[in-house]
Symmetry: C2
């Protein structure tokens, strides 16, 4: 990549709100889609995540979403971040398009100079995290996200295609290093050491933060899964599939923001989603709502976790059972007779159990990093009383510690659903929570 | 890569024996090394492996080795094979140069048009396989190869360096698909199915070949390790490290032929080496030598297997313990106090146990493919009597089956050393060998 003197790729510049109409006017296909001309278009800045600029543009005939990778972390301008990440978000969308249908926004245009993606404007969708905080019942979110992950990961794994296709992808996505470094540091390393970027509720969570830094069992488990992230090219994963990466209505669901895409363990995606449902469950305990509403919504969340896993598992198995082209993992001529077919069923269950074990671990890692770490989540930030917030966070950390250090206690999703309410008794003293 | 009309890269042509002097004359650095001019040089065709052309060139001042990737399998001209494999052999040599010292031949010149590598001429080295067949005592071969593998793999793993460096390498080596396809098919898939390429001693080994095709336990284990090969980017591995890829004298050892290089499980390299020592042990049982010599040499081989593993393990642990820069797997600030240091020692033992488990499995896979598969080995081919040959092969298959399907019986190298003589009782009936 050629770099101009400012260290950005040649020709790159940050688009401002006022630049957007002229920029769009240079892309004929998008002009046609909006209708009219620049003077007829309205532009809204809707950036919500930590990293990028996002604008919604509306014209007489329709609307689009314009997302530009900024050369720094949007919420932290003196933290530089390579704009090339947009290449990988684009590649992720293109690679998955044949498999995920309308599970992601439609891609209209990619600009490899300004690192801008123009895509379908999702309306009246909201970010799932916002819906969860508001206590909305969004019945499609969990099963649709599960289906998306199953479609995306099965079809890019060694179960679905010859390895050459996967290795071509690996050669590409292995270059997504700026964002993989963020996952490595912020998600998989920082919460267990002292580092300037870490944030947590002070002073209430000091005890938990200190216990994370000194807990050798925990850090051993963390390191094991960090190695898994670095060495296991199981499938093309989203890499950041929390409830802020899912846009929903009551009957439609889209997964967005694939810029962290890499070949890695499938459980990182399933775990990220479950982690954010679990944290929502704990956060709701501190929301100022009528008790009956709160109880009903928490029951709904637990149900969504169950539905999410069951849907993912069923969809993944169905894709495998119906695959017409076998991947290199299990050649078509290996398990053809009756005994072979029975064995293949066992192999499939074992494979899904392996994904589940990773799901448990990565769910835990994703909870920890949202509570002891740089990127906090709105589910907790909306709880203004710090002690109340901390008391809604501690149970997530206590559960996460158990998920990582006692994985044998969590062999299926039912064990996790049982544990979530039980761990609510965990408080600000990490040692006192060890009996849960 | 631009392709000319014949399907080869632009400018590529196969060099013949008579082309070599003129070719070398065009590379000034090599001319200086040989001394004199083309008329003073002698060229010997010494191709020995299955894939490439290899010439030794001698001049008044010195000699070099010229290796050219041919656009087909050298021993099977109508089997096309991408010449680009030389890129990866070259990249492997360059990448490992800082770590393996004189464990590999010195690289002099790489030609990316003719896919030719000019390197150090190894003299009076012989191929280790030849030395083993002749019953030579080569005391450095096993420990030096172990040291080479430890140096190469530790330093390219997540234990030694930040992941960015590894992922850059992965992006490159993930393109070595033509040769990875050979490993996938010939080593990891074919021996357990019917395919035209398979060769074995007929009719004597028909029973074993049939049992491999119908053995569901075996094929389940094989598939598990095939997935490991496809998904575990543990370190940069040689990928074909059998006794034909090691050149030795009594006091020097060089690993050659890194064209199968990829990021994969370290146990594939350690396992390949051990497999070839085990097969040599069994083959010696059928060689026409005095019984006392044979017994002494077999004891020497068992000793080399023990030395190989102990040296690899010690070297790998020493590198880890003394690493000044920690890789991303275990950050330097994670295990610093007394309890942490004790835990790190346990983690290291567990890591080596993991490599050992892979070693056991890949050793088995490598034995199977040399007996039921395309590429047979000279250790067995020199046994002219087919039944005698088959009876020296059956024990290797019986042991391999146990290594793959009963890995819990082989927790350390001593268990393998015990098993090798015990499995010699296996014969041509695969079922009768199940009790061993």
């Amino acid at each position: 990549m050629d770099k101009a003197q400012d260290g950005h790729p040649e020709g790159y510049r940050v688009l401002t709100h006022d630049d957007i109409p002229a920029y769009i006017a240079g892309v004929p296909a998008i002009v046609a889609q909006l209708g009219g001309g620049p003077a007829d278009w309205t532009v809204r800045d809707v950036a919500d995540g930590n990293l990028n600029a996002v604008y919604l543009v509306d014209g007489p005939a329709g609307g689009v979403c314009v997302k530009q990778a900024l050369p720094y972390v949007r919420v932290h301008h003196d933290w530089p971040l390579a704009v090339e990440r947009a290449l990988f978000e684009h590649a992720y969308m293109v690679r998955l398009d044949p498999f995920v249908g309308r599970g992601a926004p439609q891609l209209y245009h990619f600009d490899p100079t300004l690192f801008t993606i123009v895509m379908e404007k999702l309306e009246p969708h909201i970010i799932l995290r916002k819906g969860l905080i508001e206590g909305r019942h969004l019945p499609k979110a969990a099963p649709d996200t599960a289906t998306f992950i199953a479609n995306a990961t099965f079809n890019t794994s060694d179960l679905a295609a010859p390895f050459e296709r996967k290795f071509e992808d690996i050669a590409h996505f292995a270059r997504n290093q700026a964002l993989l470094r963020i996952t490595m540091d912020l998600v998989l390393t920082d919460p267990y050491r002292e580092v300037w970027r870490n944030r947590y509720v002070r002073p209430h969570m000091e005890g938990w933060a200190a216990s994370f830094r000194s807990d050798i069992e925990l850090k051993t488990a963390v390191a094991r899964h960090r190695i898994g992230f670095l060495t296991n090219t199981q499938a093309l994963i989203h890499g950041d599939l929390h409830s802020g990466s899912v846009m929903v209505t009551e009957d439609d669901t889209r997964v967005i923001d694939g810029e962290f895409a890499s070949y890695g363990p499938i459980g990182l995606d399933t775990g990220a989603f479950i982690a954010n449902l679990i944290m929502s469950w704990y956060a709701h305990g501190a929301y100022d709502r009528p008790e009956a509403d709160r109880r009903a919504y928490r029951d709904w969340i637990l149900e969504q976790i169950a539905i999410f896993w069951a849907t993912f598992r069923d969809r993944f198995l169905t894709l495998w059972e119906n695959a017409t082209e076998a991947g290199d993992a299990y050649p078509a001529d290996y398990f053809t007779d009756t005994a072979g077919k029975a064995r293949l069923a066992t192999i499939r269950r074992d494979y899904l159990d392996g994904i589940f074990a990773d799901t448990v671990a990565f769910a835990a890692l994703k909870m920890n990093r949202r509570i002891i770490g740089y990127a906090q989540i709105a589910d907790y930030l909306v709880i203004e009383d710090l002690e109340r917030r901390a008391r809604a966070q501690a149970p997530a950390l206590a559960l996460a510690r158990a998920l990582l250090t006692r994985p044998e206690r969590f062999a299926d999703i039912a064990a996790i659903l049982d544990a979530i309410p039980r761990f609510e008794r965990a408080g600000l003293d990490p040692d006192a929570a060890r009996h849960l």
